[in-house]
Symmetry: C2
Subunit: 368 residues, 2 copies
């Protein structure tokens, strides 16, 4: 038997989450983001759950090729566009659409047009509205839009889409996030030609301000049933698509005063039972998870005690008499939202989901 | 072109690090730890650098199979032993030795003996000397040792090894770590039969107290040229085995007062240039890296500014006029020790090395 750890992916949860987001958005299209191998879930494991989506957005061109191989025939959009000329060829071969976020990428379109490909991509023109990461600046926009509009209509390419990315849509405080998102929306919309579509809503944007999401929303993490904030996902009716579980491989009986693990971080104030779980930071569980981070064992919450080590972690099972060697331990999933673990560790669910290590075996189990 | 990010592994650095540790240990044997796919470096990429080692220690039985496939003929030790009966068979087929850390695993040896395999494994009996993770407790030791000594000599198996694991050998403060390691050493040694060998030294133990490492040291992270503490590895003469690099994919000119990235964490106090680097937490760079975490661009240190996002990060290149789109950016490696990045992020190099994501391509480059 390999180590008893595994990640279980539930495509039915993804199907439900996409439908929930569609409801919120009303008429808008939904283009789930599947970069980073579907946020760590595995493209081949989530695709069935994404079948009602209008398009998929991805970063890695190899991932796009994989999606076509797996039978996805609807549009695919490359979120950072093409990195060089070889990419341009590959993207058209794969019938991908893509984002243009700088002048060099705009100029590349001319090169592509000279090749007279039969496939005509849809271009998503990205504006920097305050994130200061990718995108054209406001002063560059009028000329870029005029040029791209003329270029695409001359070549018979689809009408482009104007897009931007929210910087603060996931702020916990609605009074802060609402005006910031509205300002980015207004900043984009003043440039939008009437016949172009727009694309703004990331997960937080789609959930918190569906009215600012534009014609094509690009939810990412929400599709997988997580979203920043400890219990936010459940409040929106989203279900976790991944359950990360392992087992107890050893139990230590300790006395008051005994210490556990590296750096002797945790010290017992009473006698008790400590379970060693076959999961460590080399599996993707965060090393800096503090004492008290919840896990779920035999129907009860068991807190992490002592520093997570490379292949093992220790939890306090003193008050769970049923816990024994071989008991399943849920690290996150149905009972412990990944966002709760993330919140304890000062990060967000995305980081944890993407960080599941290659040595962890996956399993697919569909259930309502 | 795929995204311009990659991890470059240097087997020559590993060779030098193993030799350096051998020098420190004198007569003792060196058994490098290669669990978690050689701490994220890839078994097939590091094996050439490990050729002078006496044995290898690993956790995953699939990894042991891979080592045999790659041509490793010297001993392999399974660090958590066998998880069930199928493992026992696989371990003997692969000619592995293994650790026994609890009573159930001791009893399993009887089952194995009944099968009359031709391969006779060497058993590493693990004692819990204060880590409270794996290992037999002191009161269980005398009976276990007597039984195992009789059992192995009756069956003609190799003489067992007595082992334990240091809990605090990497404490920054020598006055704290020295007595704690000495206490664990003494705790183990009082049980050691004269004809058995011992195994104690992990990386920190081997480097800081070679006299307490026992007959067979088990260095892990040090083999890969890292060790807890910002510049500790270089002080020991160790060289980094991995360089994690990417490129600048966009540059934003900003004004005083502009903010960068998610949550608008960083605000410019002057006009400047911000480079967007094709590396994010979905590649394995820590999301919680604070402003000021160093990267290396065109011969200069460039600090992280703004929160690391999923596929990109932003660095301040205002004072590096040579930096341009396409410039290489070292995230850690030759110029920026992984332990410096880890220290800024409140963790240790191990976690970062193990967390390189599957989507990052690897390359092997041997150099002195």
């Amino acid at each position: 038997m390999p180590r008893p750890i595994r990640a279980v992916v539930n495509p039915t949860a993804i199907l439900g989450n996409v439908n929930k987001i569609k409801q919120l958005l009303g008429a808008g299209q939904v283009m789930p983001v599947v970069k980073a191998n579907a946020y760590g879930h595995g493209l081949e494991r989530v695709l069935e759950g994404l079948k009602n989506s209008d398009a998929l957005a991805i970063l890695e061109i190899d991932g796009a090729a994989r999606l076509r191989q797996l039978g996805w025939t609807k549009p695919i959009v490359l979120l950072e566009g093409c990195f060089d000329e070889a990419d341009l060829h590959k993207a058209t071969e794969l019938h991908c659409d893509w984002v243009v976020h700088n002048q060099a990428q705009l100029e590349d379109l001319e090169k592509l047009a000279a090749l007279n490909n039969s496939f005509k991509p849809r271009i998503f023109l990205k504006m920097n509205t305050g994130m200061n990461r990718l995108g054209l600046q406001a002063p560059e926009m009028p000329a870029a839009i005029t040029w791209l509009d003329e270029f695409t209509s001359r070549l018979g390419w689809p009408t482009p889409v104007l897009m931007t990315h929210f910087a603060n849509a996931d702020e916990a405080e609605p009074r802060t996030r609402q005006p910031m998102a509205q300002a980015q929306f207004n900043n984009l919309m003043r440039f939008k030609p009437a016949h172009w579509q727009s694309s703004l809503g990331n997960s937080a944007g789609s959930l918190n301000f569906p009215e600012l999401a534009g014609d094509i929303a690009r939810p990412g993490i929400a599709v997988y049933g997580a979203t920043p904030g400890p219990h936010a996902a459940a409040n929106y009716g989203l279900k976790p698509a991944m359950t990360f579980i392992s087992q107890i491989i050893a139990i230590q009986h300790i006395e008051a005063g005994d210490r556990v693990g590296y750096g002797s971080r945790w010290q017992a104030d009473r006698a008790g039972r400590i379970a060693v779980v076959a999961c460590g930071y080399a599996d993707g569980y965060p090393r800096h998870a503090p004492d008290g981070t919840p896990t779920f064992v035999e129907g009860h919450v068991a807190p992490v005690v002592g520093r997570v080590s490379m292949d093992m972690m220790t939890i306090d099972i003193t008050s769970i008499p049923d816990a024994r060697v071989g008991s399943a331990v849920e690290l996150w999933g149905e009972h412990i939202p990944v966002d709760v673990v993330a919140d304890r560790c000062g990060t967000i669910g995305y980081e944890l989901l993407c960080a599941i290590a290659p040595r962890v075996p996956f399993q697919v189990v569909s259930k309502d």
